[in-house]
């Protein structure tokens, strides 16, 4: 039940070609330390699943820029010109989903199901008309569940068993990804003894976790970014 491990050991379990879900919406919730270790260990041919591509020089953008990523599954990369450029130039395959559909595909996998029916985007170019079917009198299409080999998660607080607590909008996709991936690695700057976190405030229960890593989170990527608040 004790899941604390070193960051080197945790990331070394990831092979080349792995499919990895990465928590975070922009910077909040991005597991910068785990990503940094992946950059150092240089696994390649990765498929990453994340809401966005972070910003140039930050987070998963560094993995893409370093050529370790084959494919990105995401919702919006408008804040990262470099990644847009790589996509347009053909050096990175990008697959887009509407944001809530991506979340629901991940949640569905996390719930052990294989797909759901939706009417989102039926009349838009994201839907192949031959995929539209009728179910109980409604026009719908099937969205497949999205599973992954690994999830990399940042939690505000965690215990040695792997119970996790997220903070504010750093939660976003993390609890869903923690359910959907086969192996789940979390980083936290606040690793506490089991029993410290009141049971009713746990966001991700320990059963979903594979390993938990203590980090410092004193690097600039974990701090406020200039120019994004009132002066």
């Amino acid at each position: 039940m004790h899941k604390e491990t070193t960051i080197e050991q945790a990331i070394a379990t990831i092979p080349n070609g792995a499919t990895i879900m990465v928590g975070g919406f922009g910077s909040p919730g991005t597991p910068f330390s785990l990503i940094e270790e992946l950059l150092r260990q240089r696994q390649t041919g990765l498929t990453l699943i994340k809401n966005d591509a972070n910003e140039q020089g930050l987070g998963i953008s560094r993995l893409v820029e370093a050529g370790q990523v084959r494919k990105l599954v995401t919702t919006h990369i408008g804040l990262n010109k470099k990644i847009v450029e790589m996509m347009n130039g053909g050096s990175l395959e990008v697959s887009f989903f509407p944001q809530g559909i991506l979340a629901e595909k991940i949640r569905t996998a996390g719930a052990g199901s294989f797909g759901f029916l939706t009417d989102i985007g039926l009349h838009s170019e994201i839907t192949d008309p031959t995929d539209v079917m009728e179910y109980q009198g409604r026009k719908v299409k099937i969205e497949a569940a999205l599973y992954a080999d690994f999830a990399l998660i940042h939690a505000h607080q965690g215990d040695h068993f792997g119970n996790l607590v997220y903070r504010a909008t750093a939660m976003n996709f993390s609890p869903l990804m923690a359910m959907a991936a086969d192996k789940v690695i979390a980083e936290t700057p606040n690793l506490v003894t089991p029993g410290t976190i009141p049971p009713a405030t746990v966001h991700t229960p320990s059963a979903f976790l594979t390993s938990i890593v203590r980090i410092d989170a004193d690097g600039p990527e974990y701090q406020l970014m200039e120019g994004r608040y009132e002066p």
Partner: protein, 214 residues
């Protein structure tokens, strides 16, 4: 100046007790135009209900942003949740209004605001679900693009975000409602004539009984 006019007018659309989503860009700036006593719950799709004003260096937290990446505060009675819950709220039509930008809107209320093929395709984000599932879509945009072409069209030419979803459009020149009879002109900006607005608009405009000014 023209954006200021749009936002001032748009602030009158927001009522006490509403739950609303403000899209990235111009709509987000609407927060600063609401009277402080306005009792609204602002939804940000990255997982907040009850978003407040932009944070200062003192009040900002690295864990709390809006969907555009700006550090924000929260109001009393706010809540945080994951992305599946956030979009359940949207798809289950729990939002009273979404305020969005537009590249093009047409007389049937079709909306294009996510992609310009060959030029701009950063992904759809939350726009499609917001546009398709919110009861009331308020569009804020300049009336014309920077080349002087009308954004208010007979028929959208760009890939649609959602079909027949728009209720009202506020531009720097006019306020228009989407109705079964077409686009109804209900207000024009101070200093303009009805003729000037009609001239600047690709879509035919039905003149309202009483056209106000803003």
């Amino acid at each position: 100046m023209s954006l200021d006019r749009i936002l001032k007018r748009a602030a009158h659309e927001i009522q006490d007790g509403q739950t609303i989503n403000l899209g990235i860009g111009l709509p987000t700036m609407l927060v600063n135009y609401l009277p402080p006593e306005r009792d609204v719950m602002i939804h940000a799709e990255n997982g907040v209900l009850g978003a407040g004003a932009k944070a200062t260096h003192e009040t900002a937290s690295p864990s709390l942003i809006d969907a555009g990446g700006t550090y924000i505060t929260t109001r009393q009675g706010s809540a945080f949740f994951d992305s599946a819950v956030s979009f359940a709220m949207i798809r289950r039509s729990r939002l009273d209004m979404s305020v969005m930008g537009a590249f093009e809107v047409d007389q049937e209320g079709n909306l294009a605001n996510w992609k310009i093929p060959g030029k701009f395709s950063p992904g759809i984000g939350g726009a499609m679900e917001l546009a398709q599932k919110t009861r009331n879509i308020l569009i804020l945009c300049t009336h014309q693009d920077k080349h002087g072409n009308s954004k208010i069209l007979k028929k959208c030419t760009l890939p649609l975000t959602a079909e027949k979803c728009v209720s009202r459009i506020i531009t720097d020149m006019a306020v228009m409602d989407v109705t079964a009879e077409g686009l109804v002109l209900i207000e024009i900006a101070d200093g303009l004539t009805i003729e000037q607005v009609v001239q600047a608009t690709d879509a035919p405009l039905v003149l309202g009984d009483e056209i106000g000014r803003f």
